[in-house]
Symmetry: C2
Subunit: 354 residues, 2 copies
Amino acid sequence: MSPGKLQLPIALDAMGGDSAPACVLRGAEMALIRHPGIRFLLYGNRHILEPLVARIPLLKAAGDIVHTEAVIAGDDKPSLAVRRGRDSSMWLSIESVKEGRSCAVVSAGNTGALMAMSKLILRTLPGISRPAIAALFPSLRGECVMLDLGANVESDAHDLYRFAIMGDAFARAVLGLSRPRIGLLNVGSEDLKGHDEVKAAFQLLKESATDINFHGFVEGNDIAEGTVDVVVTDGFTGNVALKTAEGTARLIRTYLREAFASSAVARGGALLASGALKAVKEKLDDRKRNGAMFLGLNGIAVKSHGGADATSFCNAISVAVELVTHHINARITQEIKLSAKPQPALETAGGEPG
Amino acid sequence: MSPGKLQLPIALDAMGGDSAPACVLRGAEMALIRHPGIRFLLYGNRHILEPLVARIPLLKAAGDIVHTEAVIAGDDKPSLAVRRGRDSSMWLSIESVKEGRSCAVVSAGNTGALMAMSKLILRTLPGISRPAIAALFPSLRGECVMLDLGANVESDAHDLYRFAIMGDAFARAVLGLSRPRIGLLNVGSEDLKGHDEVKAAFQLLKESATDINFHGFVEGNDIAEGTVDVVVTDGFTGNVALKTAEGTARLIRTYLREAFASSAVARGGALLASGALKAVKEKLDDRKRNGAMFLGLNGIAVKSHGGADATSFCNAISVAVELVTHHINARITQEIKLSAKPQPALETAGGEPG
């Protein structure tokens, strides 16, 4: 590290996740190779972390351990974690973002606790009432962003409108698109379909003063087809769609495995086609797309899968780096401001006294 | 046909669907072999149908053509179809159910029009305010029923409760289960999760006086995992989940096709494994599960895929036959009655004037 060179500090919850801290630290090492301009604040128990970091020279040079006593478990209730976990690696790593000591936090820990703590510590951006969870999905055209994946169970038209603005900013930062196409998830693509909230959100998006590239309504099959770059929906529907897609992919993988094991000829075929099958597996691999963001907060908080390995955790760090370097929150704030209709100047009624 | 033998008359909208009437008639022929106890009322233009039926001896013997002039097109607006299509094969075939000339109607025509006409002609069963669309999904344990798939865009707790009763009756009839496990789709399996309507529906199902086998909340991935036999949800979420699953399956098929075509070795492997791949394709084949029912109406109306081939249309007829022979509507009506809490006898207040 050359003296005087500015580096992006990223906070890591080193104790969160099924394979923490090992995978977190190895993932951090990989990220340092991928993004030479970053450094880490490693939140966790120093008695555990120090000997591990000592064996990773790159991380030893670009990482500072911040000692924390407590750890939030994967099955801790979010409400309890928030009340009793203020000395935890999760809480303190999020707090470092609020206090400006880091630009972003990445955690593979308990999703509910991370969401609750992030909301409480970072608060929402001006003009945003509900944060949303956004992540990437595979599609026939590459990848698309979907949100909300479950931060909320109900969303009104204005929430959906703001999710669209946040998803737009996310797609620009993470997918590098200049004008992502935005679709609103519905049960049909005609303007007349759907419930009141999606119909009202459709109007808001159509008449938006921002430069959002609104495609219109899309349906469930459009997610995988890549009809749009951003799929906007409420957290209930988004969560069900995400898990239905995961379940379907798992079902097909099981069918394939059983079929390939069913006879010697099939086994031979699977062996010959193993390279091709591996390529398909990689395309569907969640690890490649690891890193869901809690959008709409005053600070960048990225959630890694709890079962993330080092490569996967490194990918979540990359998402955080992209969001920081593309100033996602500045963009969201600016677009939300543009959306607020200008207040007409208060006219003084001629007939009034004085 | 032996004289005096009672046969189940099924009405077919012979003009509905992409390949009508050819696939409808061939499908009807296959159904006559599969279910010797049925006969058909074939609604459509007799100038078109007569020469075709003449070439199918089995159908000629067990099918009566009922001449109709108009045809509802696949892109006709339901509201318009209802107003102007009263002389259509679709309208008149549904009407035959209402008038008792047939036990069920099967159509591969315009879904929206079929739904609107069925509601208008057949009306809902006592105690049911909203009908629902139910169909089968593939799962790791075989098949499961999901409803509502889009008959409604909003459902309250009582609607969801009634969907559970209707789905239970559907699973008993079509899957032949004695006590199907019922799951309520949510964003988590804990009791505290979800919005108010699913939480209230959970209570209604838990405290139900019927012998419904309520498993509790399930998530999107549970559909394909086969955690329960019946997945109950609102029509918005159900429609998105159905189409997301279809889109995901199509995405994986495309990935596999591209991967197998990528090299000579992969092509060789695919050739050797072609039997296994065919088995997987068959397991995922929608045609096997063709036949969605509009549940909750005073009569049985089954919707076949618009693009159904003969085998697929025959399967939709089989669904209708199962529903008729298992008296699905009698079961639904009985369970709905059991659910209605007994009204306490009106007490006369003592102090009231005589």
